[in-house]
């Protein structure tokens, strides 16, 4: 199995490079500075979200509320800033909201034993609905002017790299370190591989699950900050887009198995690269939005099929895990 997974990463990476080369040769506008910056920007936000999703999926969960969390926390923060609240204070409120959302999803999943996919699906709707009803009124929130670090985060360069991609790289390194080299990370893999065995071994299973959703929520908040800085605002249109499927596509295509316990940050990186190049190329090719969605959805379906073929979830274990006491 080890060989198969390694080659899956390799194949995805090779595909991404090949696709990049093909677009670079065939499309006039692809290799321009403007397009590459747009590519990098979209890729880094997708990648940051993919890191959060990847973490949860490794722990045998899924967080479909990430986009809602990102949109609502940032729209709220920006609307508070517009209304005169100091930006730092507004960000602190947003941070707390993200933690609260993660706690709510996590507690429902871990302690009420509701399947993660339904909890977070509903949670996304609830967050977005209450955000629109109580927290902000207009669709597009603009960023406050005059916050230097915020402008730098959007447009600055760090060692020649645009800041969004630098933020993605730093976060990726942090998550990788957390997964591979801390007790928390090993627990996440254990819980994703076999929750019953993890519990018996003494892993604090339920608090761990809650923590995973808090982390993914916070990563969504972070992705929102980077996005708002990069495009100078936050629009509720993002919530109504297919972005959550793009994030899933990044994770599954990269090779993190939906059956849990398998994969890592490397998989998110190659997945992000391929999906980013693909989306950008399709946009330049002027493929209609509908067709793009069709292509993406077919690839997602294919990736999920390949995943369940390579990593079949053991029938016995999955049956048992539904009856956790």
């Amino acid at each position: 199995m080890g060989k198969v997974r390694l080659s899956q990463e390799g194949v995805v990476f090779a595909l991404a490079v090949a696709l990049f080369a093909v677009f670079a040769v065939l499309l006039n506008n692809f290799l321009t500075a403007g397009n590459l910056i747009a590519l990098v920007r979209s890729v880094s936000i997708l990648g940051i979200l993919g890191l959060g999703m990847g973490l949860v999926v490794i722990g045998r969960g899924i967080d479909l509320a990430m986009i809602a969390t990102m949109v609502v926390t940032l729209s709220w923060v920006l609307s508070m800033a517009q209304a005169g609240t100091p930006f730092d204070t507004a960000l602190a409120y947003g941070f707390l909201l993200a933690v609260a959302i993660g706690l709510a999803s996590g507690i429902l999943i871990a302690y009420a034993d509701i399947p993660a996919i339904f909890t977070t699906l509903a949670m996304g709707l609830v967050i977005y609905g209450s955000g629109r009803a109580f927290l902000f009124q207009i669709d597009v929130q603009n960023t406050p002017s005059g916050v230097a670090w915020f402008d730098f985060l959007g447009r600055g360069l760090l060692f020649g790299l645009p800041m969004p991609i630098a933020a993605f790289a730093v976060l990726a390194a942090l998550i990788a370190l957390m997964l591979m080299r801390t007790r928390f990370g090993r627990f996440v893999y254990a819980a994703g591989d076999n929750p019953l065995a993890a519990r018996i071994t003494g892993v604090p299973l339920r608090p761990l699950i809650v923590l995973q959703y808090v982390v993914s929520s916070l990563i969504a908040f972070l992705a929102g900050i980077v996005m708002a800085a990069a495009v100078s605002g936050m629009s509720t249109r993002v919530y109504n887009s297919t972005m959550i499927y793009d994030v899933l596509l990044v994770v599954v295509l990269g090779g993190i198995s939906l059956s849990g316990g398998r994969g890592g940050v490397r998989n998110v990186l190659v997945g992000t690269l391929l999906v980013g190049v693909l989306l950008n190329g399709m946009t330049i090719l002027d493929i209609t939005y509908t067709t793009q969605n069709l292509i993406k959805s077919l690839i997602l379906l294919l990736a999920i099929m390949v995943d369940s073929f390579i990593n079949p979830r053991d029938e016995q274990t999955s049956q048992q895990s539904q009856g956790d006491i």
């Binding site: 007790r183 591989d193 519990r199 071994t201 048992q320």
Partner: protein, 497 residues
């Protein structure tokens, strides 16, 4: 007499690894045939070839003397070959009657008619199972009856059982033996895989021993004894080491480490009381359904006792009430499961990863740095202590044999440095050679001062290992004895109701 099924030079390989190679095998009508062999010897693969689950890579298969190929299990069933797997293939949420007639329902199915039909049918087989009961509420023995009823209903002439007695109580085993003999008298051929040599000697007409993907010997049962089988299985004689009859000196009781009073949980554990002492092995015997596993799982925090009148557990003279296994592990109580695949090991991880997780789980701070190196060091130490045979510590647990997997699960538990370790069926599904090693290791643990509880359904194992024996019956510990005063009949007398 034409053999019912005959295999000639049949091989099956998985990606180049030979699971069975050049096997010649025949099964005659109306015989009971036992297949013995260590884990990984190819027994299950051979049976699955017979049952149409796998298609042979090479070789020839004859049914009633005619060449035939079985494309699928249902194809095999239409030829009269049925297989009863270790994990039953029944639909848990359906009734017994629905399961028996699964697959040939009429378009409009009347439940009452079906139940009456099933009732008559079951009685004609002398099976006392209520056809309206949902299968998930049945015990292992009854489930097996339903599976057999289903096979007979499909006009099976050959029924293959994969370890039919592994999950049965001695009582249910007795029924199974009688049933097998009755089916045989009706002309049915029976093959069963087993780890229990006595069963094979007692029940089978012929015995086949497999080793390393090959059939070592097939012969009439009367020509075998324990020694000859074991020798054929492992290529060496173990009879002196395993279950020696010579009297042992029991270890003295150490300090009382665990005392349980009036423990209750629903109707599986009923008001039970007992104590466990350090520095010795406490054997816990009981028939399935006696609440042994549940009692010990409560002690280790895996299950919760009743909220009201649940009784008290005192560990090291301190009352404890664990709601999850974690605080128990941190206090020094570790439970090693009887079902390592479901709640034992982590299949995506290496040996090192598994053992390291045991170590990590005892600790507290989630951000503590860990390195793969620490895991590898632990793995090297423990694989040496337990004699895990694997290429290296980076081998994945899923690729190991049952015996080696069990050793890894043991290491994962013992790396947590428990004061009280509870081993639930520590040698289930483990080959004969490894059983000896695990027994020796358990003795070493007790000698080092640890309190060891061994739950086992196998009397010779209980008597060979224990210093003190507890017998459970219907959710309660009913008798306690020193090994010196214990005999198989005395223990069994206490266990049956």
């Amino acid at each position: 007499m034409t053999p019912l099924v005959q295999l000639r030079g049949v091989s099956k390989d998985f990606r180049g690894v030979m699971a069975i190679s050049e096997v010649n095998f025949e099964i005659r009508p109306g015989e009971i045939h036992a297949i013995l062999g260590e884990n990984g010897a190819g027994k299950s693969t051979l049976m699955k070839v017979l049952a149409g689950v796998y298609q042979p890579s090479s070789g020839e298969m004859l049914l009633d003397g005619q060449p035939a190929t079985l494309k699928s299990p249902s194809d095999a069933l239409s030829h009269g070959i049925a297989m009863v797997f270790q994990e039953t293939n029944l639909v848990p949420s359906m009734s017994v009657a629905q399961n028996i007639y699964l697959g040939d329902e009429k378009l409009f199915n009347r439940l009452r008619g079906l139940n009456i039909q099933a009732q008559r049918y079951l009685l004609s087989l002398n099976f006392y199972v209520d056809p309206t009961v949902q299968v998930s509420f049945l015990g292992a023995g009854k489930k097996q009856l339903v599976e057999i009823a289903r096979a007979v209903h499909h006009n099976a002439r050959l029924i293959i059982f994969d370890e039919p007695t592994a999950t049965l109580t001695p009582e249910e085993k007795f029924h199974f033996f009688n049933l097998a003999r009755r089916l045989k008298e009706e002309g049915m051929a029976i093959i069963f895989i087993s780890h229990a040599l006595e069963e094979a000697l007692q029940l089978a007409d012929r015995i086949t021993v497999m080793r390393d993907a090959k059939v070592v010997v097939t012969d009439e049962t009367s020509k075998f004894d324990r020694d000859r089988i074991v020798q054929a299985m492992v290529g060496r004689s173990l009879s002196g080491e395993l279950y020696s009859d010579q009297a042992r000196v029991p270890r003295p009781m150490g300090r009382k480490i665990l005392s349980v009073e009036n423990l209750s949980m629903g109707n599986t554990v009923r008001n039970t009381s007992f104590s466990v002492f350090a520095g010795q092995v406490t054997g816990l015997f009981g028939l399935v359904g006696a609440g042994r596993t549940e009692t010990m799982k409560i002690v280790a925090g895996v299950l919760k006792r009743d909220y009201f009148h649940g009784g008290t557990v005192r560990f090291e003279d301190r009352p404890v009430r664990y709601r999850t296994p974690r605080p128990a592990v941190r206090d020094g109580i570790v439970y090693v499961t009887e079902d390592r695949k479901i709640e034992g090991f982590f299949e995506t991880m290496t040996i090192a990863g598994n053992i390291q997780l045991g170590d990590l789980a005892k600790g507290d701070n989630l951000l503590t740095p860990t390195t793969p190196r620490q895991g590898r060091d632990l793995a090297v130490e423990w694989t040496k202590r337990l004699g895990v045979r694997a290429i290296d510590a980076d081998a994945r647990v899923i690729e190991l044999s049952g015996g080696n997997q069990q050793k890894v699960v043991l290491a994962k538990a013992l790396v947590q440095k428990p004061k009280l370790v509870i081993l639930d069926e520590p040698t289930r599904g483990v080959d004969v050679g490894t059983i000896v090693e695990i027994h020796n290791f358990i003795n070493d643990l007790a000698d080092s001062g640890m309190a060891v509880v061994v739950i086992s359904s196998y009397l010779p194992e209980i008597i060979a290992l224990s210093d003190r024996i507890l017998v459970a019956r219907q959710g309660r510990i009913v008798e306690e004895m020193d090994v010196a005063e214990a005999t198989e009949s005395r223990i069994m007398y206490a266990a049956v109701h």
